[in-house]
Symmetry: C2
Subunit: 346 residues, 2 copies
C-alpha cells in the first residue's frame, strides 16, 4: 500500500531520532491541567493531586495485530490510542495522558509516520488526552506500536473486575461482533485485490462493521453516562478479546457464576446479515470475536430502573453462585458452559 | 544461543496469552505503598498522594538495540528496567513502578521468557520498584521490549533540562565510555565465535567494561547522595546517547553555552587501555559512546564545596553564555565545537 501511492517520500534517516520526535509531535498541545511537563525532558511530569492514577499499556505489532494492506495509518494511530483508553474507561476512570512509542523499518517514509501521528492527534483531541511522551526508533521488520494510557479517578469511583455479586445484572454497551466481521470482510477484499488489483471493492453494505474494525471508539461516553445516571458498576471490563473471555474474567475475579442469555446479546443488523453471508453463527462471533471495545459491567439490581430505558445499554444476563459456572442460555433454553475462545496471538 | 543450550523448552502456545502473563508475573509482589492495584485488572492503580507523577518510556528492539548472541536474557531484563529508571532519576525523582511489555516470536521457549523476567525481578527488588502492568504478545520476528517507568517527586525536588545558568558547574557521576567499549569487545568476540565456535573467550581483562554494557546500573544512589549533600542540580539529564549529545541537550534547553574540559572527563583505566587496543580515541568514545546511564547535571558554584570531595562526582566543565556555544577544551587548550554524534537508530 505504502509503495503504490504517488506521494512525496522523505527518508527517516534525513531527520535522525531527535529530529523525528520533534517533527512528529510539534503540533501536540497540552490541554489537561494535570500535564505539568510533556515531551522534551527525560520524563513527563503529571499532577493528579489527591486522585488515584490509573495506568494501562498495550503492544500492537504489524502482521500480528494489524495489516497495513487494509489498515490506513491514520486509522491505525487512532485505533492504537482507543485500545488503550478503553482500558482506562473500564476502570470507570477519566483518561488524561498517553505515551506513544513507535518502531518502524526503513521502508516507511516520514509521510507515513505523519499519517500515523495525525490519527493519534485526532484521538487526543476528541478524547481530551495529552500526548506526553514516547520513543521512536527503527525496527528490523515492520511496524510496532506501544501505547501507555494514564487516567485519574477518585478512589470511590474506581471499578475493578472483582466486585460482581450474585444476582447482579450483566450489562453491555453498544453492540458486539461487528469489529471481527469487519475484519473478515477486509481480509476477503484483500484476497480479491491480490488476484485482481483492478477490482474496486464496494464496501457500502459493510460500512458499519468495517468502521468498527478500522476506527473503533473507546466508550468514554458510557463512563460519563453512568456517572450522570448515578450508577456505579460493581465490576467492569472492556471487550477486547470477545464477550465470552471477558465474562469469564469477571466471574473468576469476582468468584461468581453467570447466566448469559443468547437472545439478549445486542447485534447490529449488519452483523446478522454478514454472519449469514459468511455462514458463521452470529452468537459465536459475539462470544469470541473481540476488538469491539465496548464496556461489560455488572450492576446491583436496584440500579436497573436507572438504565433500562437507555438505548446504549443492554442487560444480557445476571450473575449466579460460583458453583453454577458461567453458562450461555441458548434461545431454546438449553445451558452451555462458556469457554474462552478469544483471540490469542501465540 | 537459545537453540544451542540443552534445556527444557516449553512452547509458548501451550500457555496462551493470559496463562503466560500470569505465569511470568506470579512471583512479583507489590512493595511500594503507592501501588494500590498491580497486574490483573484493566489498568493498574497508583496513589502518589500530593506528589508529582513522573513518566518515561523506551523501546528496545532485537537487532537494533541488543544482540542475543552475547546479551543473556536475564541481563536484558535487568538492563531494560535500568534504561527506564535512569530517566526517572534524571528528573531527581524516585522510581516507584514499571510496566514491561514483551513481544517474541515462536522461537522463544517459555524458559527464555522466564530468564528475562528473572532479570526484571532482580531489578525491581534492588531498586524497590513494582511491576504493575504490561502486555505479552507474539512478534513476527525477534524480540522487542517496551518499558514504562513511573516515579514520584515533590514539585520543588524536580530537576528539568532547562535550568542551567551561566557559570554553573557541569558535573558527571561515575565514569564514561565503558559501555560502548564493552560492546566493541563483545562484538569482536562474537565474530571470533562465528569463525571458531570452539574458542573460549577470555574476557577477564575487560570485565568492567563488559559489565557496563551488559548490566548497567541506574544512578539511584546519586539522587540519594545529592539529597544527602543538600545539593539540588539546576539541570539534569542521563547519559544514554553519549556525553556530547547530552551536553547539547542541556545547553539548548537551558539557553546557555558550555566549556567541557577534555582532561577532566572521568575514564576508567580499562577504558583507556581498551581504547588504545582498538586504536580509538578515548575522548571520542566518551563523547559519542552512549549507554553509560550516568547522570550529567549542573550545579550552582556555591554548591561546589559540598560535592568536591566525593569520588562519585567529577566537575568536567562549566556553563557559559549561549553565544559562546558548546565547546570541548582540549588538553592542548584548543577549543572545538561539540557535535552530537550520539547513537541514532535510523
Amino acid at each position: 500500500m505504502l509503495e503504490d501511492k504517488e506521494q512525496s517520500r522523505t527518508p527517516l534517516e534525513q531527520l535522525g531520532e531527535f529530529g523525528l520526535i520533534t517533527h512528529l509531535t510539534k503540533d501536540f498541545k497540552l490541554v489537561q491541567e494535570s500535564s505539568v511537563k510533556g515531551i522534551g525532558d527525560d520524563a513527563a511530569v503529571l499532577d493528579h493531586k489527591n486522585q488515584k492514577t490509573v495506568v494501562s499499556t498495550d503492544l500492537l505489532i504489524e502482521g500480528v495485530h494489524f495489516n497495513l494492506a487494509y489498515m490506513p495509518l491514520k486509522h491505525l494511530g487512532y485505533k492504537s490510542v482507543m485500545v488503550n483508553l478503553s482500558d482506562i474507561y473500564a476502570m470507570n476512570a477519566t483518561a488524561t495522558q498517553i505515551t506513544v512509542s513507535l518502531a518502524v523499518s526503513n521502508r516507511f517514509p516520514l509521510e507515513a509516520l505523519e499519517e500515523f501521528y495525525a490519527g493519534v492527534a485526532t484521538a487526543c483531541k476528541i478524547y481530551g488526552v495529552d500526548l506526553i511522551g514516547g520513543d521512536t526508533t527503527s525496527s528490523t521488520k515492520g511496524m510496532l506500536i506501544s501505547v501507555t494510557a494514564i487516567g485519574v479517578a477518585q478512589e470511590e469511583q474506581l471499578v475493578y473486575r472483582n466486585g460482581a455479586k450474585e444476582n447482579d445484572l450483566l450489562v453491555v454497551s453498544g453492540d458486539i461482533g461487528g469489529a471481527y466481521l469487519g475484519l473478515q470482510v477486509l481480509e476477503r477484499e484483500n484476497e480479491v485485490f491480490k488476484v485482481n488489483p483492478q477490482n474496486q471493492p464496494d464496501l457500502d453494505a459493510y460500512s458499519y462493521i468495517v468502521e468498527r474494525q478500522l476506527k473503533p471508539e473507546a466508550r468514554k461516553d458510557i463512563v460519563e453516562l453512568l456517572a450522570k445516571l448515578e450508577v456505579k458498576p460493581t465490576a467492569m471490563i472492556d471487550i477486547s478479546d470477545g464477550l465470552s473471555s471477558e465474562i469469564l474474567h469477571l466471574c473468576q475475579n469476582s468468584n461468581v457464576g453467570c447466566d448469559l442469555y443468547e437472545d439478549k446479546i445486542p447485534l447490529d443488523p449488519t452483523v446478522i446479515a454478514t454472519s449469514e453471508e459468511f455462514k458463521m453463527d452470529s452468537t459465536m462471533i459475539a462470544l469470541s470475536g473481540g476488538e469491539d471495545y465496548e464496556l461489560l459491567f455488572t450492576i446491583d439490581q436496584k440500579d436497573f430502573p436507572k438504565i433500562k430505558a437507555n438505548p446504549n445499554l443492554t442487560v444480557i444476563g445476571h450473575m449466579t453462585e460460583k458453583s453454577m459456572g458461567a453458562q450461555l442460555v441458548t434461545r431454546s433454553g438449553a445451558k452451555m458452559e462458556l469457554k474462552a475462545q478469544g483471540w490469542n496471538s501465540f
